[in-house]
């Protein structure tokens, strides 16, 4: 190489190059640093053998350990499922009526139900369970229940669905279409009367008579509705499909009736129970007073 010389002030040898009077001292790297570098190379060889590394045309090399990120996920999911086994068993054992008494189990059920709701129910009812008035999906946060709001009634609805074809026990009711049944003035009067039931309009004798003749059989004389028939309450502040005169006219002439699929067979009984707990916990859940007396509702059998 070039002219190496000893640098006077430092006593270190130069590398022998000079750039416009600037010279570089030869300060060798510590040897352990080199070893560390070799170690990383050895490590990488081991890594390439043990783990997926080389990308090939379709797939990469597999590695002798057989590790995959999907496999790791599956293991973690299995572990998480195992961790839930005791809770799920306890939920399967506990009748839904007893669930609110066990606040810890209830909290677990609500948490599980919240997750299941996001996957299975939020498509119609919304992620906050607020439903949609425009599309007629009921709001599950309020205290107005079409078919009953205690845990047992909610679970029954979940199991059998609403107007689910092919399920004998499904919640079923039909409102007949009234298109052509009323004179325009009579229809107007009826709408005014229905609005007046919840204090939104003036009392109206013609409308009241029309209501008594055509509607009261299901909706009740004062519009109090009927849960046995799934007839909505008309004398409260909550409207499933809107409260404008136009909304009411459409619903009377060509009623729309919602359908909810039955979840029996799609979801396991414990998940349904967790969904029940979650929906009940949203704030409008009822205690066992109003519907629980219905002997037709028999969901207490062991799942």
């Amino acid at each position: 190489m070039a002219n190496r010389r000893i640098d006077e002030p430092t006593g270190t040898e130069t590398v022998g190059h000079e750039w416009d009077g600037i010279e570089e001292l030869n300060t060798p790297l510590p040897r352990w640093w080199l070893w560390t570098f070799y170690l990383t190379i050895i490590f990488s060889v081991g890594y390439i053998i043990a783990y997926p590394a080389w990308p090939l045309v379709n797939k990469g090399t597999k590695g002798v350990l057989g590790w995959t990120s999907r496999g790791q996920l599956a293991e973690e999911v299995t572990a998480a499922d195992l961790a839930q086994v005791s809770v799920r068993e306890a939920l399967a054992r506990t009748p839904i009526e007893r669930l609110p008494e066990d606040s810890e189990l209830m909290a677990q059920a609500v948490a599980g139900g919240r997750a299941a709701f996001k996957v299975n129910c939020s498509q119609c009812h919304g992620s906050g369970a607020a439903g949609s008035q425009r599309l007629g999906y009921p709001n599950l946060n309020d205290d107005d229940w079409l078919w009953g709001g205690d845990p047992r009634a909610i679970e029954f609805t979940l199991v059998h669905g609403i107007r689910q074809a092919g399920d004998d026990e499904t919640r079923f009711s039909t409102m007949p279409p009234f298109a052509g049944a009323f004179e325009p003035a009579q229809l107007d009067a009826l709408i005014t009367h229905v609005l007046s039931l919840s204090g939104k309009g003036q009392a109206n004798p013609v409308g009241a008579q029309t209501f008594a003749d055509n509607c009261a059989a299901c909706h009740g004389a004062a519009g109090e509705g009927s849960r046995e028939l799934g007839a909505p309450r008309l004398n409260d502040a909550i409207w499933l499909r809107g409260s404008s005169r136009e909304d009411l006219r459409n619903q009377i002439l060509n009623p729309r009736m919602g359908v909810m699929p039955k979840w029996e067979g799609r979801l396991d009984p414990v998940t349904i129970r967790m969904l029940t707990a979650y929906v009940h916990s949203l704030g409008g859940g009822e205690d066992f007073v109003e519907v629980a007396a219905d002997p037709a509702i028999d969901v207490d059998a062991q799942p």
């Binding site: 190489m1 070039a2 000079e18 790297l29 040897r31 906050g128 107005d144 502040a237 909550i238």
Partner: protein, 492 residues
């Protein structure tokens, strides 16, 4: 010399072609045993620091039935940090940050007052390196024996000695890592679990990693950590000035060097340094202090001990190598009297550091003293923002987090303030018991999440209101959190 080419150029090589020395093996440091005031001080600091390190996890501190009784505990699983009477939650990590800042400024203070005292005496790398060097001396003998053994061929005797020495290294490393994990769990329980193979895998992994790093850094890397790896010597070289205390060879007194015999022949030609190399022999980082202040000097002052001993033997005054500031050295060289030590310690820089350090400490103590052990956070549901009930009343849902930082369960009252007609219930309080104020019991040292439902009569407008949390004990700690009640017709 004028070529810019860096590649090999056959024309330039001539006859002096030598292989490039790109990598350099470490020159082993075999420091000689020495006794003296600084060595004894180093023993003392080692005893104190190692004593603190090993004893602290075993100290107990009674916190009642709801909290652990270990005086210093970093409880990762429950996210609590205990230090004697202080308990820190994750959201109060600024206390730890403050302590770290104090430690940093404390180092600045120490450096400006007494130079690299941290490096020389208290740094764990120094303490453990010192420990390992004593093991070397215990197994292999002093400097000369070790140099001989190093150069000797690998006989069975050498293999046995090396094996014995490295086993001691491993035991020290294991003890280091083993003590470390005790800070993170109940020490007696963890100790028992550890040796009955019942501790968590992370405990064994941590001990294994720390054993490895201790043996590598303290047993084999040693001074290379200070010279090549540690950023602190670099920062310190920037912080030292002519008023900083450093270990200095007084060259005006020592030079030119000469043996005792030469100096006896012509006393006027030689200085006090007899070139006995004792200062180099005892140096734990293997440097020659006579070359002046350098990054490898950790100012452990063992060379002072060595030189003073030699000076006493040859009948010359002590302090040829000594703790001194460069300013004092200049004065001394000119024959002036050095400034008194307090002037080295008390100068604007050290006073400023002390003030900053002290005020951060006082600020932390003050913050610790006045912090509330009760806290409320409120998060209003936004999906849906409000809920119309069948009687026209309006309900809002809130997620409340009630924090109880006392080590006992406490009753706390949640009250709705400034929302006329409002009543409240929760996921654990039945709707039939709805009231403007509710009492809940928050478990010891926990945050309780309460899902609260607030309902107001029909026609109530959207408005701001507040939740008031009051602890139902003699402390009556309160926290008021403002939030908003949403209602139909509210402008977004």
């Amino acid at each position: 010399m004028h070529s810019l080419s860096t590649g090999p150029n056959p024309g330039d090589q001539g006859g002096e072609a030598r292989p490039e020395k790109l990598y350099e093996a470490r020159a082993a440091v075999h420091n000689k045993r020495i006794d003296g005031p600084f060595r004894r001080f180093k023993w003392f600091v080692m005893l104190v620091t190692l004593g603190i390190y090993y004893a602290t996890p075993w100290l107990r501190w009674d916190r009642g039935p709801y909290a652990p009784d270990q005086a210093v505990l970093v409880d990762m699983a429950n996210r609590r940090f205990y230090m004697f009477g202080i308990e820190i939650w994750p959201h109060e990590f600024y206390f730890v940050a403050g302590l770290l800042i104090m430690a940093g400024i404390g180092l600045f203070l120490v450096t400006s007052a007494v130079g690299r005292a941290w490096c020389g005496y208290a740094c764990p790398q120094t303490v453990w390196t010192d420990l390992f060097q004593h093991v070397d001396r215990f197994v292999d003998g002093d400097r000369n024996a070790r140099i001989r053994l190093d150069a000797a061929p690998w006989t069975w005797g050498k293999v046995f000695k090396r094996g014995f020495k490295w086993s001691i290294y491993a035991i020290i490393g294991f003890a280091t890592g083993g003590a470390w994990i005790l800070y993170f769990a109940d020490a007696p329980t963890l100790m028992r679990d550890f040796f009955t193979a019942q501790a968590a895998p992370i405990a064994y992994i941590t001990v294994a990693v720390l054993t490895l790093t201790t043996v590598t850094l303290g047993g084999f890397m040693r001074e290379q950590v200070c010279i090549y790896m540690c950023p602190w010597p670099r920062i310190q070289s920037a912080m030292l000035d002519e008023k900083s205390l450093i270990v200095t060879y007084k060259d005006w007194r020592g030079e030119p060097r000469g043996s005792v015999k030469k100096a006896q022949k012509s006393p006027d030609d030689f200085g006090d340094c007899i070139d006995c190399m004792q200062c180099v022999a005892v140096c734990p980082t293997g440097i020659d202090i006579r070359e002046g202040a350098q990054i490898g000097c950790i100012t452990c002052a063992l060379c002072i001990d060595a030189c003073d001993k030699v000076m006493a033997e040859v009948g010359r005054p002590r302090g040829l190598i000594d703790y001194a500031t460069l300013e004092d050295c200049e004065r001394e060289a000119k024959g002036e009297t050095p400034r008194p030590p307090w002037r080295t310690l008390l100068r604007p820089r050290t006073i400023a550091y002390t003030l900053i350090w002290g005020s951060i400490g006082l600020g932390l103590l003050f913050a610790l003293g006045v912090r509330s052990h009760t806290d409320l956070t409120v998060s209003a549901d936004r999906n849906p923002p409000f809920m119309l009930m069948s009687d026209g009343s309006v309900r809002n849902s809130f997620t409340l987090k009630l924090r109880n930082m006392e080590s006992r369960p406490r009753d706390m009252e949640i009250a709705v303030e400034g929302l006329p007609g409002a009543v409240m219930w929760s996921d654990t309080i039945r709707r039939g018991d709805a009231a403007p104020k509710q009492i809940v019991t928050v478990p010891a040292d926990q945050t309780l999440t309460v899902r609260a439902y607030v309902i107001v009569p029909a026609e109530t407008a959207a408005q701001d209101f507040a939740f008031l949390l009051t602890s139902q004990d003699e402390q009556r700690e309160t926290d008021l959190v403002e939030t908003r009640f949403s209602a139909p017709g509210e402008e977004p």
